[in-house]
């Protein structure tokens, strides 16, 4: 049922926003009006991932909603506005902007604020808290003027704040009043192990410290004096000593509050005032405030259903599980249920590995049948399994210690099948295994679909692996094969197409479309994919007339198209080494054609702003001077970055430049599912950043260590250490095999990193295939690579020698004119594309003649 009514929401944090989304989803018409009073200048943002702001995420990246979306939903929102008074009799809310708004239902979602202990001196500049985007801007600003930083509070948030300070380059301390870190989630031994790991990382921890006063310092801005006579000098202080619910509004309106604060609610999230609900961190159920987002989301769902009188049978908030898994300063920490073993008769099993800093404890019931809680520090790989045992009261088998012992052979893996339908898979969005199965019943047929339908794995992301295994297991159980069709023309994955082409010796796109596809022409997805397979299987020249229509424009014109339709020119500079003569040629060509020059992130030089008709002339000059294409446009080898290595560097142990040049020349031109990048570092200081490359080589005393499947870009991934102490020959052999195996088995546009993450059996399997030759085709892979190397040709050289291909590099077939829409202006002594406004104003614009 939907009633024409006005709902006012105070607070637009994560939970307040989730409430609005729920109402919009459930309401039957826009007669259900919503007004949101948002205290912050920003609409709701992802506070859980707030720290990523320091990693470069912007307010826009963290935003959970946009003004446009609210407008579309007809939700009115007042930003930077505080509710200052609630009159529960006349049912109105007053704001600090002197507005009075009537409501039919009021929802309090005011969250909490960071508690600052009343230590004298705490109100000075550079004494900050860690809660909002604005706080983070202040912290960044303060950190830029500081060398030393202290976080007061060694709980979960305090350690996250310490991580941020350390990343901002400060010498970081954590000061904790209690005798241990993370006292809420961890037991004493767990806290001790965590402490020593954190100290190893350079953060100093001071426990049992009560700060008495903050006064002017001698070596730093401030000095903190502790009750026991110790002191600490610091330039800035971050308070993270707990949070307090924003419940003042409720108190003023005489609503009931919890013993330790928070607006008291019942299981339907109603407060003691009529038609007023409270949700999220400001609400207290049975005197308990939930400081996590998942319980807040559950409350939002419950309140929305009660207010709209929809689907209220199951709409009850009965409390929530507070288990947590996270990575603090790179240390994995997990806490489940009754971590402290407070349940009567509870028994514990404990495993500690001091050399590696791993601590694990499980707490089980007196009768040894159920798991009550757990503490994991240093390794949380068993977290998901343990959590499912606890949440679903799955019966423990004999010797429950096997659950946490590293070498136990009978370790229960708890496959997706073992979980009951009620098992909560995603706690952020409260999605059960049953919900996932129903979404598949309703047609979802991939992890992506399930994510869209249920929102599972779109919160903290911690459940992604479990979600995938549940989805895969269920699909498999139904005999469904996950669709990997590349487009409407081919019901095959790239790998299947590769095999089809190879086995049936197909040499043209038309041939393949006829025998294995549907539709008349293909499209911009299948054509380049097939083009690349044809090129890597048969190693043909890509501009053979039959291949031309298949190529993406960048491949067709052997250059990357820029925003204005001009192209870039990137000659190969193997290993980043270049002679002064060649540098001069590049400079002269750039000058002659008036090109913008820039050193790229791949250690070479990019010349931008070449018109299509200029490309052949430019390349002719470069080739005449001994240069060749850098394949900046191809799904192929880009660069092999190097550091200067043993030849010059006092630490280098091998000739990294020599190896980089050798590798670049060996693999240049190889066509692959996606681009491939290498780097070679001359010692473990790793100046060439090899661990972020598809193939990374690092020199060691006895030869080379090989890393594979690293990635920078959108989703960085460190390479996996594949083999150590290799001689030159073995190194090349392994790279040949890894790359060829990748070329043959990866999907379209799948970088090696994603390929590896999806490879069944992962790194170990790849090692078996490459090092142990478990599939017996190692030598075949090598000889295929040899064939690629032998048939290499510089495509630009071939093109320039061929008048027919050259015909393509014209703007017009019927005129010698050039494209007058391409216009440049001067910037810092070089050209750049003119903006649309500049083109209209026609001031100072250089038309290219």
């Amino acid at each position: 049922m939907s009633i024409s009514q006005h709902i006012v929401v105070v607070g637009n944090g994560m939970v307040g926003n989730h409430f609005v989304e729920e109402v919009v989803k459930l309401r039957e018409s826009t007669d259900t009006r919503i007004t949101v009073i948002c205290g912050e200048p920003n609409l709701a943002y992802d506070r859980v991932h707030l720290s990523e702001f320091f990693g470069g995420k912007t307010a826009a990246d963290l935003a959970m909603i946009t003004q446009e979306q609210y407008d579309e939903w007809n939700v009115e929102v007042l930003t930077s506005t505080l509710a200052t008074n609630i009159d529960t009799e006349s049912k109105t809310v007053t704001t600090n902007t002197d507005k009075t708004i009537s409501y039919d239902h009021l929802v309090m979602a005011t969250g909490s604020y960071a508690f600052v202990p009343p230590i004298p001196g705490h109100e000075q500049p550079h004494c900050l808290v860690y809660r909002t985007l604005e706080d983070l801007v202040d912290i960044q600003e303060s950190a830029s003027q500081s060398k030393v930083g202290v976080v007061v509070g060694g709980g979960l948030l305090g350690l996250e704040a310490a991580n941020a300070l350390q990343n901002l380059g400060l010498q970081t301390h954590v000061v904790e009043f209690a005798p241990q870190l993370m006292g809420v989630q961890l037991d004493e031994a767990g806290g001790r192990v965590l402490r020593s790991k954190i100290e190893e990382l350079g953060v100093q921890v001071h426990t049992g410290c009560a700060t008495q006063i903050i006064e002017a310092g001698e070596t730093c801005r401030y000095r903190m004096n502790f009750a026991d006579g110790r002191y600490l000098e610091t330039d800035m202080i971050l308070f993270s000593a707990g949070i307090r619910p924003y419940d003042q509004l409720g108190r003023d309106a005489e609503m009931a509050v919890g013993e330790r604060g928070g607006i008291a609610i019942d299981a339907s999230c109603k407060t003691s005032a009529p038609d007023v609900y409270a949700i999220g961190e400001c609400a207290a159920l049975n005197n308990f405030c939930y400081g996590l987002v998942a319980p807040g989301y559950s409350m939002a769902k419950v309140a929305a259903r009660h207010i709209l009188q929809t689907d209220i049978e199951n709409a009850e908030f009965a409390g929530a599980d507070m288990s947590t898994k996270l990575k603090l300063l790179g240390v994995e920490v997990g806490s489940i249920g009754d971590a402290h073993g407070k349940t009567e008769g509870a028994l514990a099993y404990i495993y500690e590995n001091q050399p590696e800093g791993v601590y694990k404890k499980i707490v089980i019931s007196e009768d040894k049948t159920t798991l009550l809680g757990a503490v994991l520090v240093g390794d949380t790989s068993e977290y998901d399994t343990l959590l499912q045992y606890m949440l679903n009261s799955i019966a423990l088998e004999d010797s429950p210690e096997a659950l946490i012992l590293p070498m136990a052979d009978n370790k229960p893996g708890l496959g997706a099948d073992a979980l009951p339908e009620t098992a909560v898979i995603c706690s952020c969005h409260n999605v059960t295994k049953g919900d996932i199965i129903s979404s598949i019943d309703e047609g979802a047929c991939s992890v992506g679909d399930v994510k869209t339908c249920t929102k599972a794995a779109t919160g903290c992301g911690g459940c992604a692996a479990l979600l995938k295994s549940v989805v895969d297991a269920d699909l498999e159980g139904r005999g469904v094969e996950v669709s990997k069709d590349i487009c409407e023309h081919f019901a095959y994955s790239r790998q299947e197409l590769y095999d089809i082409i190879k086995v049936n010796e197909i040499r043209t796109f038309e041939g393949l479309l006829e025998s294995h596809g549907k539709g008349e022409l293909g499209c911009e997805i299948c054509k380049p994919a097939v083009g690349s397979i044809l090129a890597s299987v048969w190693n043909d020249y890509v501009l053979e007339p039959v291949h031309i229509p298949l190529q993406d424009t960048n491949d067709t014109y052997l250059a990357n198209m820029q925003k204005d339709g001009t192209y870039s020119v990137v000659p190969r500079i193997p290993g980043g080494e270049i002679t002064p003569e060649k540098l001069i040629v590049i400079g002269e060509v750039a000058k002659k054609y008036n090109l913008y020059t820039k050193i790229t992130g791949g250690q070479r030089i990019d010349l931008f702003g070449a018109r299509i008709d200029q490309l052949p002339g430019i390349w002719e000059e470069l080739i005449a001077a001994g240069m060749e294409t850098g394949h900046a446009y191809g799904k192929s080898l880009r660069t092999v970055k190097s550091c200067v290595g043993k030849t010059w560097c006092r630490y280098g142990v091998q000739d990294s430049v020599g190896m980089a040049i050798f590798l670049e020349n060996r693999y240049k031109g190889l066509r692959a599912p996606h681009k491939i990048k290498f780097a070679v570092s001359g010692c473990t200081r790793e100046c060439a950043e090899a661990q972020s490359k598809d193939i990374g080589v690092i020199a060691v005393d006895n030869g080379w260590n090989l890393y594979v499947c690293g990635n920078g870009g959108m989703k960085p991934r460190h390479g996996d250490l594949f083999a150590t102490d290799l001689d030159d020959e073995t190194l090349v052999k392994y790279i040949d095999r890894v790359l060829m195996f990748y070329v043959k088995t990866a999907d379209r546009l799948q970088r090696t990193s994603v390929w590896m993450d999806n490879l069944e059996g992962g790194l170990d399997y790849l090692k078996e295939v490459v090092i142990e030759d478990s599939l017996g085709f190692g030598e075949t892979l090598e000889s295929q690579m040899d064939n690629v190397v032998e048939t290499y040709q510089c495509e630009w050289k071939t093109t320039i020698g061929n008048p027919d291909s050259m015909k393509r590099f014209r703007q017009f077939v019927n005129s010698k004119k050039t494209d007058t829409n391409i216009q440049f202006v001067d910037e810092r002594g070089q050209i750049r594309p003119a903006t649309e406004a500049e083109k209209l104003s026609e001031i100072d614009i250089k038309e290219v003649q």
Binding site: E488, G519, E520, L521, G522, C523, E524, K527, P528, I548, P549, L550, Q551, D552, T553, N554, T556, Y557, M561, K563, D564, G565, I612, R808, R810, Q811, F812, V813, N814, S815, K817, D819, N821, I822, E836
Partner: protein, 116 residues
Amino acid sequence: MSQQEKQWRPVCNVEDLINDSGVCVLINEDTEDEQQIALFCIGENKLFAVSNYDPFGKANVLYRGIVGSLGGRYVVASPLYKQHFDLESGQCTEDESVSIEAYDVRVNGNSVEMCW
């Protein structure tokens, strides 16, 4: 557009076309109505002519896009941001409110003619 009457006019020769791909011609050269036209030839003899200007990327690049078929319609995908344009009508398939000019085109002997 112009005061002149609509009529068939030659724009280039058959040899200038590239099968299953595009080329560009300039019409009304050196007049106020100068226009770039992308000409596509699909199979042996299906010809299409649309404006060469990509309204999304704001650049004259459409003739360098990949041609294909989507749900039975002939389309070109812009090489810049990959929007598709129906070659017959000029309609963008991703955004109903955007379309580009499409022209009639034919082969007459050795000459390719467009009507404008």
